[in-house]
C-alpha cells in the first residue's frame, strides 16, 4: 500500500504544481483527506513511523511543523514561505538543513 500512496502523492504533486484543475469545481467532494481528522492515536503505529517521528522530533518545533505541513498539504516552498512569513529562499534553507539534519537518524547515507 505504501508504494501506491507514494505514486499517488507524486502524481498529485505534479498535477498541483502544473496548476491544472483535476476536476470541475462541483465534483470536488466535501470529504477531502485534508479535512479528515487525524486519528493516528487510534491506530497502531509501525516501527518505521515511530522511528521517523523520533527523527523529525529532533528538529526545532517550527521546523517540525514545516516538514509535516509540506508533506501533508503538498505545499511548495512559496506556499510554506507565505504561511511562515518568510521568503522562499529562507524556507529552502530551513528545509535543506532540516532534512540533512535528520538524515543520519533515518539511517540514510
Amino acid at each position: 500500500m505504501t508504494w501506491i500512496i507514494t505514486i499517488a502523492r507524486h502524481r498529485a504533486l505534479d498535477i498541483v504544481r502544473k496548476g491544472i484543475d483535476p476536476l470541475p469545481e462541483e465534483e470536488q467532494g466535501a470529504d477531502s483527506a485534508a479535512d479528515a481528522p487525524i486519528h493516528f492515536s487510534r491506530q497502531e503505529m509501525t516501527d518505521e513511523l515511530k522511528r521517523l517521528l523520533e527523527c523529525v522530533g529532533q528538529l526545532d518545533p517550527s521546523r517540525q511543523k514545516l516538514v509535516l505541513m509540506a508533506y501533508y498539504n503538498g505545499w511548495s516552498r512559496e506556499q510554506l514561505a507565505e504561511k511562515f512569513g518568510e521568503t522562499p529562499f529562507v524556507v529552502k534553507n530551513w528545509l535543506r538543513d532540516g532534512l540533512l539534519d535528520i538524515r543520519p537518524c533515518l539511517g540514510l547515507s
Binding site: 505514486i7 467532494g29 485534508a34 487525524i38 493516528f40 487510534r42 509535516l68 498539504n73 505545499w75 540533512l100
Partner: protein, 299 residues
C-alpha cells in the same frame, strides 16, 4: 558508488517531501532516469517519509469515481471487482491499546496544528490548495488500488485513460498552438526558453541565461526525456547563438512531445558521441501550453 553532494541529497529529499516547483521536479525526474544512483537516493527518501501517511485518516472516494474509472478504461460491466484491497492503516485500534511513543505524542500536536491550519485557511490565492491536494491523493490512490484489482482481467488497460485531469484542460483553455518551456535550475536561473509549434513540431531554442561559451571543447546538448522512450533522445546541440531552430522533434509522437521533460547537458564539443547523455543535466523543464499566444491570434 557515487558520492552525492549535500545539494543533491537535499534536492532528492525535497522531491520526496514535495516542496519543489514543477521545473525542479522535472529536473529531478530527469536525473532519476539518467542516474540510477540518484534514483536510489530519491527512493530511499520516499521510503523513509512514506510512513507519515499512517497518520492520515482514510477517506471514502467519491461514489462516482469507480464509474469514471470504468468509463476511462472501457471496462466491461461484468468484470467489475466488488471489493478493493483493504489497507492495514485503516484498521482501527482500541483506545486502550495506545502505543504512541513519547516522540510521536509530541508530534501529534504539531500535526494537529498543521491540519487545523489547512482547514482554516490555505495560504495561497487558490483557496483550496491543500484541500485539493488531499482530494487528489485520495482519488489517485483509489484509482491505483482499483488498477491492481483489474490487472488479472485487463493488464493492457493500465495506461493513459486513468488520468483524472484531461477533461478540464480541454474545456477551460483555448486550443494552444504553441508550447513553451523554460530550462532552468531553481526558480531564478532560466537558461534556455523552448518554443514548440504544435502543428509543425518545429522547435526554437532561445538562449537567455546560459553562457554562449560553455567551455573549451564543450557544447550544450538538448534532450527529450520520457518514460515512453527507451532512453533520452538527442534534439541537437544548442547555445552557440541566441536562437537555434531544430526540426528534431518531428520524429516523436505528439503525446511524447507534449508531456516529456526537456533537459540540457554539457557534453563534449559537437555533442555526445554515444547518442546518450553522459552527465547529469544542468537545466531541465517541461512544456506548457501557451494559451496567451492562442488567444492573441484570434481577431
Amino acid at each position: 558508488m557515487t558520492i552525492y553532494s549535500d545539494d543533491h541529497i537535499a534536492l532528492a529529499a525535497e522531491y520526496a517531501l514535495g516542496t519543489l516547483d514543477a521545473d525542479e521536479r522535472a529536473l529531478v525526474e530527469t536525473m532519476m532516469i539518467v542516474d540510477t544512483g540518484f534514483l536510489a537516493v530519491v527512493e530511499s527518501w520516499d521510503r523513509k517519509l512514506a510512513p507519515l501517511h499512517e497518520m492520515v485518516g482514510s477517506v471514502e472516494p467519491p461514489s462516482d469515481l469507480w464509474e469514471k474509472i470504468k468509463t476511462a478504461t472501457g471496462l466491461p460491466e461484468q468484470r467489475v471487482p466488488t471489493v478493493l484491497p483493504e489497507s492495514e492503516s485503516e484498521k482501527p485500534m482500541s483506545e486502550s491499546n495506545e502505543t504512541s511513543s513519547e516522540a510521536s505524542g509530541e508530534m501529534q500536536s504539531v500535526v494537529a496544528a498543521a491540519n487545523e491550519d489547512v482547514a482554516a485557511k490555505p495560504p495561497r490565492q487558490r483557496p483550496s490548495a491543500g484541500y485539493m491536494f488531499g482530494w487528489l491523493m485520495t482519488a489517485i490512490a483509489a484509482c491505483l488500488a482499483a488498477i491492481i484489482g483489474l490487472q488479472s482481467y485487463h493488464p493492457t488497460l493500465l495506461p493513459e485513460g486513468l488520468r483524472i485531469k484531461p477533461k478540464i484542460v480541454e474545456v477551460k483553455t483555448p486550443a494552444p498552438t504553441q508550447l513553451i518551456g523554460v530550462m532552468q535550475r531553481g526558480a531564478y536561473e532560466p537558461a534556455f526558453i523552448l518554443t514548440v509549434d504544435k502543428q509543425t513540431r518545429g522547435l526554437t531554442v532561445r538562449r537567455v541565461g546560459a553562457s554562449p561559451e560553455p567551455g573549451a571543447d564543450k557544447s550544450y546538448e538538448l534532450w527529450i526525456v520520457s518514460s515512453k522512450l527507451p532512453k533520452p533522445g538527442s534534439l541537437g546541440v544548442i547555445g552557440e547563438s541566441d536562437f537555434v531552430t531544430l526540426n528534431s522533434l518531428s520524429k516523436f509522437d505528439t503525446d511524447i512531445v507534449d508531456n516529456a521533460t526537456y533537459a540540457v547537458t554539457l557534453e563534449q564539443k559537437g555533442g555526445s558521441p554515444s547518442g546518450a547523455p553522459t552527465v547529469n543535466p544542468l537545466w531541465a523543464g517541461k512544456l506548457f501550453a501557451n494559451t496567451q499566444a492562442a488567444s492573441a491570434q484570434k481577431p
